[in-house]
């Protein structure tokens, strides 16, 4: 494996969510991401999976410098970018792009496609204006499977899948190294999802891109990722190669999560005993002591209540945070 393009060390993000007490004397804080560490090699796709409130999106935003980091480090291409601000941060943005979830909201409805796709180029002074960037815009539209004539249209002329292609074209404009895709296909129909997933895979091969693929859909993540991290209640609980997560999950939460996903095959579904885990993810303002999952875990032991298990290698290239396994 080549050198790490991105390293996240002990990342912790807290949000102020209000005040407590009669006089409002206590600041209430929610720990959205708690001591998360992982690293991603160049050219790799790292899938970050979790349910809502697991902290997967916040992790992505913290890497992009969009939310304040309470503690921990983000190292990108060998450089610590945790506290970089202003102009320098903007320079880093050239190499790190986001594909957001909602293709309907992330395109300015008042701008034509050419202006949208050329915006990063104009902002970073590659071209004077959108018109000057036409050639590059055509190239990008073709790269993402769109018609070059589309650049004269407004976003509302396009379907969700096409909009997401425009979003991808914009993200690729500056030849970034890392792309953080935050639920890039979950707003799309199944048949369109497959188009976009295939496009992302093709682009990765052609442009040697590195992806962080954030999603709740385990099947999509499995399909696209080389390695996968599973998050629960702000903690990373398991990281391994995609195949080993699915074949031999270690953390009981991973196991339950995998078991919850319905398989589109009635013969399998009928015969399968779904291991339904009761209860719901914990309150992140007052998280449980010890392992966050112990309140729902079928294997919980007394020590799980007392101390949080550390992330440790359980097999070659397979880490998990669990006392029992």
């Amino acid at each position: 494996m080549s050198e790490a393009l991105l390293e996240v060390q002990g990342l912790t993000v807290k949000y102020d969510v209000g005040r407590e007490g009669f006089w409002g004397q206590h600041q209430t804080r929610l720990t959205a991401v708690d001591d998360v560490s992982f690293s991603i090699a160049r050219g790799e796709t790292f899938g970050l999976v979790g349910e809502s409130g697991s902290g997967k999106t916040t992790t992505g935003r913290a890497i992009l410098g969009k939310v304040p980091i309470a503690s921990g480090r983000v190292i990108f291409a060998g450089r610590d970018i945790t506290e970089v601000e202003g102009r320098e941060r903007r320079a880093i943005r050239r190499n790190m792009q986001l594909i957001p979830q909602n293709p309907y909201g992330s395109l300015n409805p008042r701008m034509k496609v050419r202006e949208i796709i050329s915006e990063p180029l104009v902002v970073h002074r590659r071209f004077k204006n959108a018109k000057g960037a036409t050639e590059r815009v055509v190239e990008l539209l073709e790269l993402t499977g769109m018609n070059p004539d589309d650049m004269h249209k407004y976003p509302h002329a396009f379907s969700g899948g096409q909009r997401q292609r425009i979003v991808i074209a914009r993200a690729l404009a500056l030849n970034p190294d890392l792309i953080i895709a935050d639920e890039p296909v979950s707003a799309l129909d199944v048949s369109i999802q497959a188009q976009v997933v295939n496009l992302l895979q093709d682009l990765q091969q052609r442009l040697r891109l590195t992806y962080i693929f954030i999603a709740h859909d385990l099947a999509v993540v499995r399909h696209i990722s080389h390695r996968i991290g599973i998050m629960y209640a702000g903690k990373l609980v398991e990281v391994a190669k995609g195949e080993s997560v699915y074949r031999s999950p270690i953390h009981p939460y991973t196991e339950a999560l995998l078991s919850s996903v319905p398989i589109p095959d009635p013969r399998i579904e009928r015969g399968r005993a779904v291991q339904v885990i009761a209860g719901e993810p914990p309150d992140l303002i007052h998280p449980p002591m010890g392992c966050r999952f112990h309140t729902r875990c079928p294997l919980a032991e007394p020590r799980c209540r007392e101390a949080a298990p550390p992330m440790e290698a359980k097999a070659p290239g397979h880490e998990a945070a669990c006392w029992v396994r």
Partner: protein, 309 residues
């Protein structure tokens, strides 16, 4: 909740104080109260005497401090026109204003809500179109003019109501209606649009799917939601009626309330009395704001939940 109320109260006090400071600054610094109060032929000696009498010869900050300290004790000085404490005059004229405001506001809110609900139930229908037209007229006609036209038509022409003054209920009808007319319009527009929004929500559609009757959906589901939106506007309207409409309408109908008194005081250059009216109205305005806030909390469980916890 306790913290919240305390915060609101302190804000209210702050508002009253800032109103008084603004009035003070305007009257003492920008304007020349002595010049306004004195007759044209007054001499320099008259002027000095009045200045001393009003304490205007002292440093400005001392004046401000004294003024605020007095205001806290509800002492705003003697009315130049009536030659007795200005506060007494205002408190004496307050009940007729409260009566008029209550009547006009109640008329405005009741009719406004009814029109808003009925027209919001079927937007685009002929009832709605008629209602919206009426409502737009209501907010477009100048109040003082409507007041005069009503006098010409109902009092002089038809002889149904007295032209002006106060007395029995018949004196209340015209000024009450005129005062409430713009309120009808604005309340109706807000109620209508929130009714339309409420009736288009997913939960109303799903309640229909559960078989909840149309009547209950309108009366319970939509009206409660729309009511929460209307309450805020009603508060603004009440403040508008009290601090604006009442002055105009009382003047048109020679209704012996604080609005009419304020106009008389202005004509007689009685700045002290005008200040007293402003002070009392400011206190009522902040009280209304607090009441609206509390009503809002009681009606909307989401807000209650937020504030209590």
């Amino acid at each position: 909740m306790g913290r919240y109320l305390l915060k609101r109260l302190s804000q209210a006090v702050l508002v009253v104080i800032s109103v008084m400071v603004v009035v003070f600054v305007v009257t003492r610094l920008i304007g020349d109260p002595v010049a306004v109060m004195l007759p044209l032929e007054a001499t320099e000696e008259n002027r000095a005497l009045l200045e001393a009498q009003l304490g205007l010869d002292r440093p400005i900050l001392t004046q401000l401090a004294d003024y605020v300290a007095d205001a806290v004790r509800f002492d705003l000085g003697d009315s130049l026109w009536q030659r007795r404490p200005a506060m007494d005059v205002v408190l004496e004229r307050l009940p007729p204003t409260l009566l008029l405001v209550a009547a006009g506001f109640a008329f405005g809110v009741l009719l406004g809500v009814v029109i808003g609900v009925v027209s919001g139930m079927r937007p685009g229908g002929w009832v709605d179109r008629a209602a919206v037209t009426f409502v737009l007229l209501g907010v477009s006609l100048p109040q003082f003019w409507i007041g005069l036209v009503f006098i010409v038509f109902f009092s002089v022409g038809l002889g149904w109501f007295p032209t002006s003054g106060s007395g029995g209920i018949e004196y209340l009808v015209l000024p009450g209606v005129v005062l409430g007319l713009p309120v009808v319009g604005r309340i109706a527009l807000v109620t209508r649009s929130s009714m339309i929004d409420e009736l288009n929500t997913q939960h109303v559609k799903d309640a229909t799917a559960r078989g909840v009757s149309r009547a209950r959906i309108v009366m319970v589901h939509a009206m409660k939601g729309a009511g929460i939106a209307t309450i805020t506007i009603a508060g603004w309207e009440l403040i508008g009626v009290l601090a604006g409409g009442a002055v105009v309408v009382e003047t048109v109908y020679a209704w012996p309330g604080i609005g009419f008194t304020a106009m008389q005081a202005i004509e007689r250059h009685d700045i002290i009395l005008v200040q007293a009216v402003v002070f009392v109205v400011a206190i009522m305005v902040v009280t209304i704001n607090i009441i609206v806030d509390i009503a809002y909390t009681m009606l909307d469980p989401r807000v209650k939940f937020d504030r209590v916890s």
